[in-house]
Each structure stands twice: as structure tokens, then as C-alpha cells.
């Protein structure tokens, strides 16, 4: 798990993980936009309770306000090109308000991703910020009637394959299955899950999983972060 202690005591750890991903990205070729079915590498399964533990996360951007309107305004603003369609790679950089920010591949062994430690570890702000996170869910077959179920500290907005499916607002703590989408269909092959987490102050984290038609954790898919290639 990413914690302040292991980031501080083992500063090489995060860098090593990042280098591994970067190296693999270089071997696999440059990413393009758009997705195509291909032999996946670096595929992981969700944990036993269905939580997705692998994400690409962008270093935080300044943002203020946790009300419905403030969060919607913040997430709809274009901070960098193609921010709603980009499939980033570990180490990719964007410039936001004259500040260079980096995408990092993150793996957690918990049900949630601790964004506080993520930001703190990279020497970034943890309060009044917005985090973008992306992952790719690979399904062996079409999966209809499923729901995305998330929790976040604090507010967050979520998209599946480009469609906004969840928004939760206000100063809140991460609660499992706090926000749940309407029924949706995961395509056979890759599906992009994207989110924007907005934090006010204090701790910040998020969790996400899919639920099946019986509201049980969805299994039978894999998660990938890293390159796509044609």
C-alpha cells in the first residue's frame, strides 16, 4: 500500500514502479488515442471484493468548492487537451496553468486508493485539488446490466466509455458503494473508466468496483493500466 511511511522511507520504490511501467510502455510502443482489442499485458484482476486496484492518476490540479455546481464546473473545464478521451501512460506529462503535471501508474493493495499519500509523496498539494484518474476494464464478453459503484473523499464525477454515470458532491468520506450508476453495459474488450476526485481539506481517497445484476461485486474482468498499441 502506498503510505507516507513507505514513500518517505523508500523513495526509490515509487520511482522503480514507475520505471517498470515506463520501460514496459517503451517496449510496447507509443500509445495512441482510441482502443483496439489486442493481447493485453500487465492485466490484473480486481480484488476479492471486486475493487479496482490499478489506476493512472494525474498529479493534482487546483480546484475549489464541493457543491454540485462547483464540482461540475471544475470537471467540465478543459485543463489539458483531450482530457476526457486521453488514455495516459505512466510518466506522461501535461501542463496545467503553467505547471507541469505527471501521470503515475498506481497500484494499491487496499480496496481504496489513498490520494493524500499519492499527492504528499510527490510533494504536491492535498487540499482544494482535483485528481484525474483513468483505468481500463477489459471484459471477455459483453456484460449488460452492471453498475459502477464508487466512494470518494470528497466529491467525484465518473465516466464509463465517455458517458458521465455518477456524480457525488459535498464534503464526504469514502464509503463503499456510496455512488452507484444506472445499469450500463460493459463492451467486450476494453472499457475506459475515468474519474475526477475533488478534495477540500484533509484526507482524500476513492474506491470503485462494478456490481452485477444482483448487486454483487462483478468478477470476470481484468484491469489494465499502461499502453495501448495498434
Amino acid at each position: 500500500m502506498i503510505t507516507l511511511r513507505n514513500i518517505q522511507n523508500k523513495p526509490a520504490f515509487v520511482i522503480m514502479v514507475g520505471l517498470v511501467f515506463l520501460t514496459m510502455s517503451a517496449v510496447a510502443g507509443c500509445a495512441g488515442h482510441g482502443l483496439e482489442p489486442r493481447t493485453a499485458y500487465n492485466e490484473k484482476t480486481p480484488n476479492a471484493d471486486g475493487f479496482i486496484q490499478h489506476w493512472l492518476i494525474l498529479e493534482p490540479i487546483s480546484a475549489n468548492g464541493l457543491t454540485d455546481s462547483a464540482v461540475q464546473t471544475a470537471v467540465k473545464r478543459e485543463y489539458f487537451p483531450d482530457q476526457f478521451t486521453v488514455i495516459p501512460h505512466d510518466g506522461d506529462k501535461v501542463t496545467v496553468n503553467d505547471e507541469e503535471l505527471t501521470w503515475h501508474a498506481v497500484e494499491t493493495n487496499e480496496y481504496n486508493v489513498n490520494l493524500y499519500y499519492f499527492a504528499y509523496g510527490y510533494g504536491k498539494r492535498t487540499s482544494n485539488v482535483l485528481f484525474w484518474a483513468v483505468t481500463i476494464v477489459n471484459c471477455p464478453k459483453e456484460m449488460p446490466g452492471v453498475r459502477l459503484a464508487i466512494g470518494s473523499n470528497a466529491a467525484s464525477v465518473w465516466w464509463v466509455n465517455g458517458k458521465e454515470v455518477i456524480g457525488i458532491y459535498g464534503d464526504r468520506q469514502t464509503i463503499i458503494d456510496d455512488g452507484v450508476s444506472k445499469r450500463l453495459t460493459l463492451k467486450k474488450g476494453p472499457n475506459v473508466v475515468r474519474c475526477a476526485i475533488v478534495n477540500g481539506g484533509g484526507a482524500t481517497d476513492f474506491c470503485a468496483r462494478f456490481l452485477d445484476a444482483d448487486d454483487k461485486p462483478l468478477k470476470g474482468f481484468t484491469v489494465r493500466v499502461g499502453d495501448t498499441r495498434k
Binding site: Q8, Y111, Y116, R172, Q173, T174, I175, I176, G202
Partner: protein, 488 residues
């Protein structure tokens, strides 16, 4: 007969007075605690030398002689955040938290005194030192201590923690109030203001979720999980561990108060439990943070927050007999008396039969005292009781006293000189006419006259047979002294 003629101006004046009176009743915080009750993060309420004490963030404190009317108390020797207090042996131990240098670096410091009463020669806080700290790096902001003395083995425990990281539990030495060892166990996450209570073989972790400190925009709510072991895991009613964010709602916002937090148990014995908390915003007090005390109920192994008694008109029904309290007068059927076998007996009388007019039927009642009995409830006027809070009559933990009158009349339920129940013609405010209503843990009510309450005598309304009620010593195992207030 003298006829009184009202001038038009008098009628207008009377209307204005009625509207003002109505506005005052509507605007007044009818059943909130009385007096000075502003406080934030109150400690568990302590009883010392017959007075109640609670302490809050910033060195604030409140004291009350009866648990209803509160006033400002004395600041203890240390100020800090969200203290909790526990009485162990002959000492009161207070644990106070702080974030020196900023969150999540934290400390909990202990002070103790033999008395909380400033007038007592035993009053005097002694410093007990730091009992816990977090280094600002570990995944815990160790504020908001909650103390628990395990009734099964006498061990003393402290929970602590806030939204950054885990809620932890550590063991303390009940002889000194200090740490027994360096061990801790993580038991919950994403909450604060935790404490543990014990009930029928289970440990319950109460903790506050949601956002604080935003007035009416505070999302604070108190949630609970339970475990067979003090060290957890604490699981809510859906099976979700509190270390994954679970928790069954105990109490949220409602009525004119928003954002409850910082649960503190008040076990009065005899099957009466209450709890204290604060509400982030009392809308009738400008949105200030206030103390409140509510009944604690239990259902299917889970605690439930009761509501303070709401004034209104009720049928008062014995759980034991199913019969209702009434004046011992001849009842008149609603809609008038009809002989058995009358025409259209089963088809009714046609049209809507209105509620009984109490003015009409009471004209046949005796003018003086009337006895009290119980009978099948028949929706008749002599069976409908108006229960009204009485101001300036003092109170008890969480409530003021009530008068109980036949709705629409001045006839008041009282205790007669012979110690039996009687309805007297008018309310005089005497202690024999005032009633304490405590909700028992199963949701039924115990009804006690004020003179018994103030004398700490356990004398309550009790059913005898199906048709008579008296006062008797409270037996928590019996249903004779349990009552329902039902909408008539």
C-alpha cells in the same frame, strides 16, 4: 344570565393575542434542553454530587442540577479538543486531544480529579501526562478520545481517531488512567468521535460520520457497528466492517436540529438508557452547536435513537392489559347511544360521525375530583389525554416535566392525598400534577410523578388487573409499568 358583549376592537385584540400566542408556541424550542446549552464535541455526561457535567472543545463546560436546565461550568485545567471523561474508582479521568503543529500530528493528554464539583474539597485537576500521540506520518490522527470500562472484566479502553486514517483502540490501566502498553488495534476508518458501549454480549462502536463544523451545512451523523470482541471487527447490519467504512445509522439530522455527533452513553439503570450528543446547528438558536439528550432504544440487537416526547393528544394504553387510562365516568358512545338491534345498526347512521364533543359530554361529569380507571379504548373524550410540557417546572435528564389533562378540559391527572390516581379540576403546578416520561429501551414509556422523581423514589404508574391503575415501585422486568402513547 349576564351577557357579555364584545366590542369589535376587543375581538381584534383577542385575535392578535391568539396569533401572538400561537407564534410563540410555534417559535419556541419546545422540547430542546433548557438554559445555556451551547457546546461543541461534548464529553460523556458525568454525575458528581448530584449534578451533571459535560466538557467540550476549547475548555467549554456545562453543568446542570437536573439534566434539563444547563448553565456554564468551569474550564478544567487543560483545554483542547473533544474531551471525554470517565469515572473509575474514586477519580474522574478526562482525556483531551490536540494537534500540536497541525494535523495529523496529535496528542491525547489525561488529567484527573476526585470531584467535578468546584465546591468540593476533592476538586482539583492533576496532570496525568500524554497517553497517546501520533507522529503525523502514521495513518491515524489520534484525536477525539472515547473511554470505555468493560463491565465483563474491568479493563479500561480508549478509542481515538479522526477522518485521516484509522480509529484505534488502546488499553489503559484502570488504576492510573494511563497506558497499559504500546499496542493498538485499528477498528474503523473515515469517522471520528468514537466510543464503545456494551450490551447483552456485544460491543458496539459508535462513531460520527460526515462533515462537522459547518453549521446547518454539516453532514454529521452517528453510526454504529458491533463485535463480540472489544478489538473488533466491528460490523454493521449489512455485514460491512467499519474498517471499510461501514456503520448503521443511529441518528441523523431531523426537526430543527442538524448534524448530530459525539455520542455519550447515559445508563440510568432499570432499563432506561439515554445518550448525549451535540447538534452542529440548532435552527431555533441561530444555528449554534448545542447539547442534546435523547432516549436510547434497542431493537433486534441494535441501538436506535429515540425521540424526546412530543406534546399532543394521546390514548395512554397499558402494555400489560391493552386497556386505556380514562376518567371513571360513564362513557357515551361516539355518535350517541343507539339500542342494540336498532335499524341500520350494521349499515351505520349515514354520513360521517364527528369526534366526540368533549364540552358536551363533560357537562355530565362530576365537578370535583374524578377517579381514574382503565377500560377498552372506545375513542371517547374521557380517554383522550393532552400531554403538555410545563415550563419553569424544572426537569430531568433530557426533558421537562409534563402535565396530563383530558383533552379540551382543565382536568389534570394527579396523585391524590391517598397516593392513588385522581383527576383534579384544575392545574396548579404542584409536584403531584407533574409527570416525568422516560422512554424505556423497548420503546414503551415509564410514567413517574415529579415528587417521586425528585425524591429518587422509583414510584411509577402501574396497571393492576385490567381496569385499575395505581402507583407502584418500578420493576424493569414487568410490563405492568410500561405504557404506550398512541395517536387517539
Amino acid at each position: 344570565m349576564n351577557t357579555i358583549y364584545y366590542t369589535q376592537s376587543f375581538r381584534f385584540f383577542r385575535l392578535i393575542m391568539f396569533l401572538m400566542g400561537f407564534a410563540l408556541i410555534w417559535a419556541s424550542p419546545a422540547l430542546a434542553l433548557d438554559g445555556q446549552i451551547q457546546i461543541h464535541d461534548p464529553s460523556t455526561i458525568m454525575l458528581c454530587n448530584g449534578k451533571y457535567y459535560t466538557y467540550g472543545t476549547g475548555g467549554s463546560s456545562l453543568v446542570s442540577d437536573d439534566g434539563w436546565t444547563w448553565r456554564r461550568g468551569v474550564t478544567p485545567s487543560r483545554r483542547g479538543m473533544a474531551p471525554d471523561v470517565i469515572h473509575v474508582g474514586d477519580r474522574y479521568y478526562m482525556y483531551i486531544s490536540s494537534n500540536p503543529g497541525g494535523q495529523p500530528h496529535s496528542q491525547v493528554i489525561m488529567i484527573s480529579s476526585k470531584s467535578l464539583d468546584l465546591e468540593s474539597h476533592d476538586y482539583g485537576w492533576e496532570d496525568g501526562g500524554i497517553v497517546n500521540s501520533t507522529d503525523g506520518v502514521e495513518f491515524c490522527n489520534g484525536i477525539d478520545p472515547g473511554l470505555f470500562l468493560d463491565p465483563t472484566d474491568g479493563k479500561l479502553w480508549m478509542t481515538f481517531g479522526s477522518y485521516f486514517g484509522y480509529i484505534r483502540v488502546v488499553e489503559l490501566d484502570p488504576k492510573t488512567g494511563k497506558r497499559s502498553d504500546d499496542k493498538f488495534t485499528n477498528i474503523a476508518i473515515n469517522c471520528e468521535a468514537s466510543t464503545v458501549i456494551y450490551h447483552e454480549g456485544w460491543y458496539y462502536l459508535l462513531a460520527t460520520h460526515g462533515s462537522c463544523c459547518r453549521g446547518a451545512d454539516s453532514g454529521y451523523n452517528i453510526r454504529v457497528g458491533r463485535s463480540k470482541k472489544l478489538t473488533g471487527p466491528y460490523v454493521d447490519h449489512t455485514g460491512l466492517d467499519m474498517i471499510l467504512g461501514g456503520g448503521k445509522l443511529l441518528i441523523g439530522s431531523g426537526g430543527r436540529v442538524i448534524g448530530p455527533g459525539h455520542f455519550g452513553l447515559l445508563d440510568l439503570g432499570d432499563g432506561v438508557q439515554k445518550f448525549s450528543c451535540h447538534f452542529e446547528a440548532d435552527l431555533d438558536r441561530g444555528g449554534s452547536s448545542v447539547l442534546d439528550i435523547r432516549p436510547l432504544l434497542w431493537k433486534d440487537g441494535w441501538p436506535i435513537a429515540g425521540d424526546n416526547f412530543k406534546e399532543g393528544t394521546y390514548e395512554i394504553e397499558s402494555v400489560r392489559t391493552g386497556t386505556a387510562l380514562e376518567l371513571a365516568v360513564e362513557g357515551v358512545p361516539v355518535g350517541g347511544r343507539r339500542s342494540r338491534g336498532a335499524r341500520r345498526m350494521f349499515a351505520g347512521q349515514g354520513g360521517v360521525i364527528p369526534p366526540q364533543d368533549v364540552a358536551e359530554v363533560s357537562s355530565n361529569w362530576p365537578a370535583g375530583n374524578i377517579g381514574i380507571r382503565m377500560a377498552n379504548y372506545m375513542c371517547q373524550a374521557q380517554q383522550k389525554w393532552a400531554v403538555t410540557p410545563v415550563t419553569n417546572a424544572g426537569g430531568y435528564l433530557g426533558s421537562t416535566y409534563f402535565k396530563i389533562t383530558i383533552a379540551g378540559t382543565d382536568r389534570v391527572l394527579a396523585v391524590g392525598e391517598d397516593g392513588e390516581l385522581v383527576a383534579v379540576p384544575a392545574f396548579t403546578g404542584g409536584h403531584e400534577q407533574l409527570w416525568r416520561l422516560d422512554q424505556l429501551t423497548d420503546g414503551t414509556w415509564r410514567i413517574m410523578p415529579k415528587f417521586a422523581s425528585t425524591a429518587n423514589e422509583s414510584l411509577v404508574l402501574s396497571a393492576i388487573g385490567s381496569s385499575f391503575a395505581t402507583l407502584a415501585k418500578f420493576d424493569p422486568t414487568s410490563d405492568k409499568q410500561r405504557w404506550l402513547f398512541k395517536t387517539p
